[in-house]
Subunit: 252 residues, 2 copies
DNA sequence: TGCCCACGGATACGCAGCGATACAAAACCC
DNA sequence: GGGTTTTGTATCGCTGCGTATCCGTGGGCA
């Protein structure tokens, strides 16, 4: 498969700065997405697998500090994404890096893009190293997700039906299903699914997602004709038409 | 969590290093105490409420690993204090981070103080974030780790099944399994596994990890076709699909 | 209503990634 | 130093997943 690029999300209200930084970083071989405010940032985080966020402190509406704190506190799947904060000189650096905010580094303006790139690489190198086993015992979130008549065991990475029969999943199938259960009842385009499962973009006439959905439906014993779980939305994508409830898989 | 300064204990036999680090960290707003050996460390722990210990591995007398293990096993009030281990590159990183030793992170020398500060912040943030009452189990020093139907005896370095039958492991097999057990449910790439088990980089078409996994699966009586424990994630690596719990191996 | 046609389902097939076995080199052990 | 155990290399075969292709179908439009 391809050399998976790191994906940077740049959040800044100034359009020129956003584009300038994105252009520079892309020249250095990074992949970039931009967002103008907290709302766009949130939506970008839902649509892409982001490796690092560059966040401006000074912004109208929610400022960078607030956004960073919310990100960390939110507990979403991307709550631990590294953050590099862009600050004006003289701001309270300690607080930014401090425990409350939880940024991974900061860069005072003005700066040269080269410096930004260097810091991004440094942070990525650090975080790339294995996360030390912070969460040894039972995970905060649950290990079994119920939807329809199925349970998805997120530890064993397989399905269990009502009779307790285990249905194994391949790696790609598990990733795809994970994405669906993370976004139930919302239509996911092929681009989004591609992005969220593989972190890469789809070629123009890529049908691999269709095929994967087809294989997943077989696993779920869901027919394409009358799908109970994964419904096709013509010209748009697919939807998981079921409610997902979290339950911990503790056995008595 | 507010203005109360975090208090770091630096344990290193080299006086210059101790002072250098303490000065730097104090400039960053942390409070520091230093200790030259295990005895001083113990006494500092009795006299102060320490938030994090920076511990050098290489020391005359008791080395850092021993001190860390004793700290965890001792069961004192500070038995769960986070530990950041300073190591020479190529040391047995998986054991350091592993559940047996119970360090929270390590930093290979040489490093820049800034890096140390960043990691300290990261650890404090993580441990702060944990609910206050879930004490101990995370890092309780234990000689036996349970996962699936197996127990891993980390002293004898072998496996025990439900019937008490002992399955021996070779050195490489044990190291690999330790890494998996220290990072359950996360997909580990071949590069990471190579790094953590051997401390060296993989050649382009190195298949030694595959082979080792295969041998380990045999030991665990886990088939590659329908793996219950070590699952293959195509193009990515392997994942231990089980929860790991630390238990002390005391038998009634 | 009937035709068109684009979209998506299904099947076939190829390839690269992985599993397994055999064998060689290296390390270890009396 | 010879035998044993462990670990890496070479090779072959299988399979998961992607591409190619064909077919069913459903909606738009006259």
């Amino acid at each position: 498969m391809i050399n998976q690029q790191d994906h940077i999300l740049i959040v800044d209200d100034d359009r020129d700065i956003r584009n300038l930084l994105a252009d520079y970083l892309e020249k250095q071989g990074l992949r970039c997405t931009t967002a103008a405010d907290g709302r766009e940032m949130k939506s970008a985080l839902e649509r892409h697998r982001i490796d690092l966020i560059v966040l401006d402190v000074m912004m109208p509406g929610d400022d960078g500090l607030t956004l960073c704190r919310n990100l960390r506190a939110g507990g979403g799947t991307q709550a631990n994404t590294p953050v590099l904060m862009l600050t004006a000189r003289g701001e309270d650096m300690d607080r930014i890096l401090g425990l409350e905010m939880g940024a991974d580094d900061y860069l005072p303006k003005p700066f040269v893009p080269r410096e930004l790139y260097a810091r991004i690489r440094a942070i990525l190198r650090r975080t790339r190293a294995l996360p030390p086993n912070m969460e040894a015992p039972a995970h905060a979130h649950s290990t079994e997700l119920h939807f329809g008549t199925w349970r998805l065991d997120t530890i064993a990475r397989h399905l269990i039906d009502t009779d307790g029969v285990v249905v194994p999943l391949s790696g790609a199938e598990y990733r795809l299903l994970s994405v669906f259960v993370a976004h139930p009842q919302s239509v996911l385009s092929r681009d989004q699914l591609m992005e969220l499962t593989q972190g890469r973009e789809a070629d123009v006439f890529d049908r691999s997602i269709d095929l994967l959905v087809s294989r997943l439906r077989q696993r779920l014993r869901d027919s394409a004709r009358e799908p109970a779980l994964i419904k096709t939305v013509r010209n748009e994508g697919y939807v998981l038409a079921a409610t997902v409830t979290a339950a911990n898989g503790d056995k008595p």
